[in-house]
């Protein structure tokens, strides 16, 4: 069965909504029957993007964060967008360990985590307009460890 589903969630940039957004993406992705690891990956990536909207995009103001999700076959796409301050230099922002808010103990690992945990990451941003993060993950990819086991098993015959 070819899975298809879409949703849009709009919520306020309050830090308590970080876990809310994680619960929503986990529930939405449930129909793809993700492994515990895949689910953790998705939740972490979403948590990073949402936290960035709250801390960086809107700083101390309450704004609206939009999370658009779609499932197509075994691929999950998540877009997270704010209408906040935007990013001057996206390339620099995406550098590992770069953070503009070290005083908040930000580690500068947000974008690195999104990249590592998802299969695809795109960032669109315009200063004064806001930021859009688009992430994709293909679920149920053959586990490299299991594939290896199968190969050796075959050779053994």
């Amino acid at each position: 069965m070819k899975e298809a589903n879409t949703m849009l969630l709009e919520f306020e940039s309050r830090s308590q909504n970080e876990s809310f957004a994680r619960t929503v993406i986990a529930a939405f992705a449930a129909s793809l029957d993700p492994t515990i690891e895949e689910l953790a990956d998705i939740k972490t990536a979403v948590s990073e993007a949402v936290t960035n909207c709250i801390i960086h995009g809107y700083a101390d103001n309450i704004g609206i964060i939009a999370m658009r999700c779609s499932i197509c076959g075994n691929e999950l796409t998540v877009e997270i967008e704010d209408k906040g301050v935007g990013i001057e230099n996206v390339e620099k922002a995406m550098e590992p360990l770069y953070t503009s808010r070290p005083e908040l103990e930000r580690s500068g690992m947000g974008f690195s985590f999104m990249e590592a945990f998802m299969d695809d990451l795109e960032v669109e941003s315009e200063p004064g307009r806001g930021t859009l993060v688009r992430m994709k993950k293909r679920l149920g990819k053959p586990d490299p460890l299991k594939e290896y086991a199968k190969e050796t098993a075959l050779k053994g015959q």
Partner: protein
């Protein structure tokens, strides 16, 4: 089952109130709750630093046995505490780290400066012997 839970609270908030702090000699044990994100990090940071000052804490052990989620804000919490005790020769250990948290810790490169032990007891032993 449902009967007994009835009228009770439905405990699905995994806030920082969940976190438990313990002092053993000059070692601070932070027993984390279910989730360590930016929202919870704020409170944990604050409380941990109070303990660090009040009890002249040298070493810190993060107990992850109940933890099910951590993102880069959690890395920030560990790194921030590391910076607090580093200058006085303090060490940071993590204990009872499950697979999900382990991937995040590995990815962050934190294991270069943080020691991993199977349990808080082992960590305590190692840190306090030194």
């Amino acid at each position: 089952m449902q009967n007994s839970k009835n009228h009770g609270r439905n405990n699905n908030t995994a806030g920082e109130e969940d976190t438990v702090y313990e002092i053993s000699q000059r070692c601070l044990i932070i027993r984390l709750g279910k989730e360590l994100d930016h929202h919870n990090a704020i409170g944990i940071r604050e409380k941990a630093d109070k303990y660090i000052e009040r009890y002249h804490v040298m070493h810190i052990i993060f107990d992850f046995s109940r933890a099910e989620f951590m993102d880069s804000a959690g890395i920030g919490v560990v790194l921030g505490r590391y910076r607090k005790v580093y200058f006085i020769g303090g060490r940071i250990a993590v204990a009872s780290v499950g697979t999900v948290i382990d991937r995040v810790l590995r990815l962050s490169g934190l294991y270069k400066i943080v020691e991993k032990y199977d349990s808080v007891e082992i960590a305590l032993n190692k840190l306090q012997k030194a």
